[in-house]
């Protein structure tokens, strides 16, 4: 499925690899279980490594491994399940993660601006998605009333310009 990044769609260049399958020398997305199990083996790997975490995972478990990771994928199993927002925020805000945070699952355009403000970078979207709809949704509200992690310019009081 395509990936939405900064208002444009692109092909997903990450390969999802099962826990027991051999890892190709290319960007791979593996499970958290495998990441923890094979941490020592993976230490010598050069190609980009990504991990997909469930919405019940405390990102703290990733802390020692984050320097090795180029992608952390979080998920919204249902559109109203907002745990991924906090996971992204923790990764960015104090776990010091600077790589890509990708959001998969039941994501709708109305989540987009808020996900970005929590530190997410990209969203996995359905085939045939119109990126313009997501961009419009991201931009429709350009003022925020609290600290966020997207590019933002303080205005006055608690307010900032975001879109």
């Amino acid at each position: 499925m395509p990936v939405l990044e900064k208002g444009a769609l692109r092909a997903d260049d990450w390969q999802v690899v099962d826990d027991e399958a051999a890892l190709p020398d290319a960007p791979v997305l593996i499970s958290l279980a495998r990441l923890l199990r094979d941490a020592a083996l993976l230490a010598g790997r050069n190609a980009p490594l990504g991990v997909a975490i469930g919405n019940d995972v405390n990102p703290d478990v990733l802390a020692p491994l984050l320097p090795r990771l180029a992608l952390v994928q979080v998920v919204l199993p249902k559109s109203r399940d907002g745990r991924a927002f906090s996971q992204a925020r923790k990764l960015r805000e104090y776990l010091g993660y600077t790589g890509e945070i990708r959001v998969a699952g039941h994501v709708i355009p109305d989540h987009y601006a808020m996900l970005l403000r929590c530190g997410a970078s990209t969203v996995v979207v359905a085939e045939g998605t119109d990126a313009a709809v997501w961009e419009a949704s991201r931009k429709v509200v350009s003022i925020a009333y609290q600290h966020g992690l997207a590019a933002e310019t303080p205005i006055s009081l608690l307010r900032r310009k975001v879109a």
């Binding site: 405390n58 559109s79 109203r80 399940d81 907002g82 745990r83 927002f85 906090s86 996971q87 925020r89 923790k90 805000e93 104090y94 709708i108 109305d110 989540h111 601006a113 808020m114 996900l115 403000r117 929590c118 709809v133 419009a136 949704s137 429709v140 509200v141 350009s142 003022i143 925020a144 009333y145 609290q146 600290h147 966020g148 205005i155 006055s156 009081l157 608690l158 307010r159």
Partner: protein, 565 residues
């Protein structure tokens, strides 16, 4: 779509005044919702996807129609806003509105196609319906006498407004496990049912006069009523928002999402234990950066300016004039005794406008009444108003020597019921007359009980008495924390009512105890009468019902209700 023209607001009413930035935000938010409605109609959003979006804009689907719930931030309103609510009631509803226990107002007969125009009309007076519903941070509630009460230590409106802004479309906390309700007060006296909230805040001052916050967490009603427990004794002002973020983040990550009845923070706090929960919050706090979450004194100062005292006149002989008027007119004296409260400014009082006429619908006001109250607020109270969580209206600042003229104006509008805090000042949820979740009717039960109680009150003077009615276990009518609580249940397909006794919402907060088997629709008002007659027989002079009950226990009340004749 042309925007509604901006309606000027009274100069001295202390509502938070929008500037160009706030207005731009609101216009954008309405545009977004208009687009969401269009996408829903075009099939681009499923109902499942649309539902949380419409709820976050205050739009509920009830039994017979949509209901639009409009936010009255921390219950503070001005006359131009109330007049506009009256206009909305007349034009798009059936001529009335209903004030709620969340200090909001709802319109029960809304057409989906009218909603964008209604939102435009609200925006014309800096109002909206954002986050009045849905699994997000709801309207923060506060003391209806904030900024006026003689016993106030710090003005909670300032921090309630800060919470309102901070929680507005919060990027991290808009898709919570369940709704999240915060209440804040600035006096020792708890007039806001603090411990029934997800988070309860008390603004305090330390010995040096610096502001800080006592925070309680994990209260809630519903099928598992729990009173909030202490979390922090004194959070410094600068750390207020950071602390709220940490609490919400722990809840967002760990609150249950599978079972709607276990999704409130009260269950998480109960399951982890207060110390276990505190430990997680402190772990967050230890790692969150300080600077971005710091509540700067300049911000507090700028918001505080919106709530500066209005230009009070010198007291003169206002108190003496009031005393003379009460002597001359016993009915007025009764209203003053029950419906006014002491003010911090000499010569002033706060006046409660009861929306609980005996035999009426609790919290309802007609368009004409809203307009009449708006006029009276302008004449007597700087155009400033409050909605109380007990579903009444308040004029916070009235000169004592103008109370009589105010009372006459209220009489003319049918709004001079003298019963604030008394037995006929009943809180009732909409129940089966409107609500899709109800088991039983609340409104007609409330009407019957108010007549019974009023009759007893006239001969026996019952004093402070809190009766609250919910149409189902969701407990929107706060029956768990009533002196006499009434809960509608379904008994083999018929409406039936359980009665709990001994609950209370304030400083003596308690969850009421079930007295015994339920009563039929026809029998419940009679049961309340028996309870009160039992109280009258047992009470010490001047003793409130709840104190008698706590002193003597269930037995005599059980006997009166269930013993065979």
């Amino acid at each position: 779509m042309p925007e509604a023209p901006y309606i000027p607001q009274p100069e001295h009413a202390r509502t938070y005044r929008y500037d160009a930035v706030d207005r731009e935000f609101l216009a954008q938010r309405i545009a977004e919702f208009r687009d969401q409605v269009a996408r829903r109609l075009a099939g681009e959003l499923t109902e499942d996807e649309f539902k949380p979006l419409r709820l976050m804009n205050g739009l509920y689907l009830q039994l017979h129609a949509y209901m639009l719930r409009v936010a009255v931030p921390y219950g503070v309103l001005n006359s131009a806003q109330l007049r506009q609510l009256g206009m909305i009631a007349r034009r798009w509803d059936r001529g009335w509105g209903h004030f709620t226990t969340r200090q909001n107002i709802q319109f029960n007969w809304t057409q989906l196609t009218d909603v964008p125009a209604m939102l435009d009309a609200l925006a014309a007076v800096d109002m909206h319906a954002i986050q009045t519903s849905g699994n997000c941070i709801r309207n923060t509630t506060t003391d209806e006498f904030a900024g006026a009460a003689a016993d106030e230590i710090a003005d909670p409106r300032v921090y309630a407004e800060i919470l309102r802004q901070w929680s507005t479309l919060h990027p991290e906390f808009t898709w919570l496990p369940r709704k999240f309700k915060i209440a804040i007060r600035g006096a020792e006296a708890d007039r806001i049912a603090s411990r029934t909230h997800d988070v309860a805040v008390q603004v305090k001052r330390d010995a040096a006069g610096a502001v800080g916050f006592t925070i309680q967490v994990g209260g809630g009603m519903g099928r598992t009523p729990i009173l909030a427990v202490p979390l922090f004794e004194f959070v410094p002002e600068a750390e207020f928002l950071r602390t709220m973020e940490a609490i919400l983040r722990v809840y967002n990550a760990l609150g249950q999402r599978e079972n709607i009845y276990r999704a409130r923070i009260k269950i998480l706090v109960r399951d982890l234990g207060r110390d276990g929960f505190l430990d997680l919050v402190q772990q967050e706090l230890a790692r969150m950066p300080l600077a971005p979450y710091r509540l700067a004194p300049e911000v507090v100062q700028a918001i505080r300016a919106h709530f500066a005292p209005p230009p009070f006149a010198p007291a003169g002989d206002a108190a003496a004039a009031l005393a003379r008027a009460t002597l001359a007119e016993p009915e007025f004296a009764a209203w003053v005794a029950l419906n006014t409260r002491p003010h911090r400014q000499a010569g002033y009082a706060s006046a409660v406008i009861s929306l609980k006429p005996v035999g009426g619908i609790p919290g309802d006001a007609t368009a004409a009444q809203m307009e009449a109250v708006a006029d009276l607020a302008e004449r007597f109270a700087f155009g400033e108003l409050r909605v109380s969580h007990t579903q009444n209206l308040v004029l916070p600042h009235v000169r004592q020597d103008e109370l009589y003229a105010l009372w006459q104006g209220l009489l003319a509008a049918g709004l001079a019921t003298a019963n604030f805090g008394q037995g006929s000042d009943i809180i009732a949820c909409p129940g089966l007359d409107y609500c899709a979740l109800a088991n039983a009717r609340s409104i007609p039960i409330s009407q019957q009980i108010s007549r019974v109680v009023d009759a007893l009150d006239r001969t026996h003077v019952l004093g402070e008495l809190q009766i609250k009615i919910s149409g189902c276990i969701n407990a929107c009518g706060h029956h768990h924390v009533a002196h006499i609580g009434i809960l509608g249940v379904d008994k083999h397909g018929a409406e039936a009512y359980q009665i709990t006794l001994g609950g209370a919402p304030g400083n003596d907060a308690a969850i009421g105890e079930l007295i015994g088997p339920s009563f039929s629709y026809e029998a419940v008002a009679g049961a309340v009468e028996k309870i009160l007659l039992t109280h009258i027989g047992l009470r010490a002079p001047g003793e409130r019902f709840v104190d008698t009950y706590r002193r003597v226990g269930q037995a005599p009340f059980k006997e009166a209700l269930y013993a065979r004749a």
